[in-house]
């Protein structure tokens, strides 16, 4: 099925080259300071694994050696790439990666404090145009890593420059030679290398590898949570996933289901309500000839393929939910560019299929589509119509299958949890209704504007008092560690506040994460312990959730 995930292949070779560049820079800096007598036995390795009871993280680079004063040092390094896009807006997907990076930086702080005989520091390299990141990330990163470096410049495509510089090289030695050439020529890549090397050397020699005190303070918060929970972890061997998401999907799409839980059909109904595409897809596929008739009529009324495409794009609800998906995919079985890379102002992955677009946007989108169709030799409106007849059903079915499982708006786990909590006598309301502002301390450290967290609900007891904040999410086993990292960030920043240079508890309301997962899923213990150590109360079933709520209520 044509998907938006194909860009991943481009991302990996770009990241691979950037990793090499950063490796080269670190090695060059170490050679320099070795030559000056500040360091001995220097060594750089990649993909170092840091593990602790609450971590199992891969760090892009690790530099080690011995300082002039005889003490060893370790520099753990992470790199984040910002490729940017034509609209000039930050990449919304990037939020997840930056959260992971920050959590990794805070978690390893344990090592920084542990080692008596070794100075451990964390370094972060940002490569690309930092205008494409949320500005709060830059502030918070400086507060979570000991030293940050920036390789890039506004408006500059450093990745293409790097790819050009390294073109034709296969071995690391050949790549290193090319970079040396860049330095000799002092081109853009050469300047970045030279400048970053100098910065790194200066940090060692002049700043004594200065530490970030805010990073240590954030670690103290985590450490306290960890100590409070030590010995009271979930019984991992007895865990069983509720699989609300799986069961809801199966209920929606399989004819025969043995589902005995009355809340599952209710959750399914809510999904269909919230995702009109799914019900539209089911209806269209069930009565395909009626759908074809509509397409045929539209084609007859259109003047040419551009006009036809625009008519298809702007069909009244719910049909445009179907036609947009079809015409975006019909030209290829391979990757479709991420919509934010299509550079149409105001069109994002969130409104691509369902949004109402302006005339200008529709024209822009449709001319790109017509261009794509031309590459598949679909040149006339009749060709397009026939293509829709021939492939439309398959495309819609595939999209339905895919989107039932993915997609940020669908939250069967959360719907179910809400209903279960309500059935137990509590009220579940939006944060706005509870007058609870879900701001994270990153908005207090950064001077930039940060939006409050969404995807959270407030739980009120019978007296209307807010007793907990709830989030519910499905965790796939392959993504478990990453999801825990992302949510860990949310937990810590939500629970604590930063004021006058000090962190303290923001309020005394517990934040609860309902972890929905497959029945036979065995979550990695360290990932769950991290989630808990970053402030969440974690439950795996609504039974547990309700019991926990009752016990919180009783102590109030």
């Amino acid at each position: 099925m044509a998907s938006h995930m194909g860009v991943q292949t481009l991302a990996t070779s770009r990241n691979s080259q950037v990793e090499f560049l950063v490796h080269y820079i670190i090695e060059r800096a170490l050679k320099k300071v070795t030559g000056m007598g500040h360091v001995a036995d220097a060594h750089v390795s990649s993909q170092e694994h840091y593990s602790s009871e609450i971590a199992s993280d891969v760090w892009d680079h690790l530099a080690t050696g011995v300082q002039k004063n005889g003490r060893k040092f370790q520099w753990w390094c992470q790199t984040t790439c910002y490729k940017g896009n034509g609209t000039g807006m930050p990449e919304p997907n990037k939020t997840y990666e930056v959260r992971e990076t920050l959590v990794e930086g805070i978690t390893i702080r344990d090592l920084v404090n542990q080692k008596d005989d070794c100075d451990v520091r964390t370094l972060h390299f940002t490569v690309g145009d930092s205008n494409y990141t949320y500005q709060w990330f830059l502030s918070l990163k400086s507060a979570s890593y000991d030293k940050s470096f920036y390789i890039g410049k506004g408006g500059l495509d450093v990745f293409t420059l790097l790819a050009n510089a390294l073109q034709g090289t296969v071995t690391e030695s050949a790549k290193a030679e090319k970079l040396e050439q860049c330095i000799r020529e002092m081109n853009e890549i050469g300047s970045f290398i030279s400048h970053t090397t100098d910065e790194l050397c200066a940090w060692l020699i002049n700043e004594g590898m200065s530490k970030s005190h805010l990073a240590d303070s954030q670690w103290q918060l985590v450490n306290k949570e960890y100590q409070d929970h030590a010995g009271k972890w979930p019984e991992f061997s007895k865990l069983k996933g509720s699989d609300i998401k799986g069961r809801t999907n199966r209920f929606l799409f399989n004819a025969d289901t043995q589902e005995a839980d009355a809340l599952i059909p209710k959750a399914a109904a809510k999904i269909l309500e919230k995702k009109p595409f799914l019900s539209a897809a089911l209806s269209a596929v069930a009565d395909w000839s009626a759908f074809e008739e509509k397409i045929r009529t539209l084609c007859d009324a259109a003047t040419d393929i551009e006009d036809f495409t625009r008519k298809l794009w702007t069909m009244p609800a719910p049909y445009h939910l179907l036609t947009r998906r079809v015409i975006l995919r019909i030209h290829t079985g391979d990757a479709i560019a991420y919509v934010q890379d299509r550079d149409v102002q105001g069109v994002s992955e969130h409104n691509l299929y369902a949004g109402i677009h302006s005339e200008k946007q529709v024209r822009e989108i449709c001319s790109k589509i017509v261009a794509d169709l031309a590459t598949a030799k679909i040149l006339s409106k009749q060709h397009l119509r026939d293509g829709i007849f021939a492939h439309g059903k398959k495309i819609i079915n595939q999209a339905r299958w895919f989107e039932a499982k993915n997609g940020t708006e669908l939250k069967p786990s959360f719907e179910y949890a809400e209903m279960a909590v309500q059935a137990a006598g509590f009220k579940v309301v939006t944060l706005a209704a509870a007058k609870f502002k879900a701001i994270g301390y990153h908005s207090e450290i950064a001077s930039e504007n940060v939006r409050p967290y969404t995807n959270l609900k407030a739980i009120l007891n019978k007296d209307g008092k807010i007793i907990a904040i709830l989030k519910a999410k499905f965790f796939r086993i392959q993504e478990f560690p990453r999801r825990c990292k992302e949510e860990a960030f949310v937990g810590l920043t939500l629970k604590y506040k930063y004021e006058n240079g000090v962190f303290s508890a923001r309020h005394d309301i517990p934040i609860i994460m309902f972890v929905d997962m497959a029945e036979d899923c065995s979550p990695p213990e360290y990932a769950v312990k991290r989630l808990i150590s970053f402030g969440w109360d974690v439950v795996f079933s609504t039974k547990e959730l309700v019991a926990h709520l009752h016990s919180i209520d009783q102590t109030k």
């Binding site: 991943q8 990241n15 993909q47 891969v58 296969v170 071995t171 690391e172 560690p481």
Partner: protein, 284 residues
Amino acid sequence: MYLDRLRALCISIAPNLRAVIEHDSLVTASTWNTVGETGKAVELYSLCSLSSAFSSMGITTHLPNLYNDKPDLFYLRNILPRHHGAQAGHAAAINSIPLVDRFVAALTPKLVFENAGLQYSIFREGLPFHLIEHANQGNAEYLDRPDVIISEGASACKILSAEKIEFSYRCESGQCNGILRIKNDAGLPIISYDTTLKENIPVMGIIECSVSKGDIRAEEQLKRYLSLLGKSRAPVSLLINGRQKKCPAYDFEAYIDMGFEKPDPIADLSVTMRAFAEAVIKSL
């Protein structure tokens, strides 16, 4: 049940591979204890059948020592680990098998044999030496990998440190050697490389196992294999097909009854495998 029978057949026709075939672990589960995914088991069966065919011709295939010590590695493909952090599931892919072992497994053939004074190697699902030389010649990387590859020559590898592994491949027409960085990388992690090979590594035979591929796809795939691996000489090709559709483009073809309906579903294969093995030896 089908897989159990296939496993037993493997051992009976290739007793020299008994230990690795019988070995049970998390890694072997996806071959022998899986539901619905019989591809890997069929590939292993082909390997055993090939070994048996050579044996009937008086040629002994040997199992490299590595697999006696670490039988899990026999089940890994001859592909360098290429998972990268940008891809989904990366953090969870911190594997049960250490990365250094996965590199050694990628660089070590599954079986080796000798004929008329020359060494030959049998690889499964990949030939990293060929891939590296191909890239060195300025070509874009290829992803096509026949299920079984018989090449002329012998390989060796040596772990230099936690991050570096040295490799070499020697054949009649030359040799190549280099050092790889032991890391998961999207690109080939080549630190250094030298070669006296004029063309690329000579491939004498390829086997493709296809449970359900149609003849058109199988032929397209063969064309790609021949253009990548058959520059100096065309390898002898065998298709093991789970479908009745014939693919005459292959030099040899055997039908394997995936439903195990015939009393001896593999009989056809052993006869054809012998013919294939003879053709490979003849071409040497």
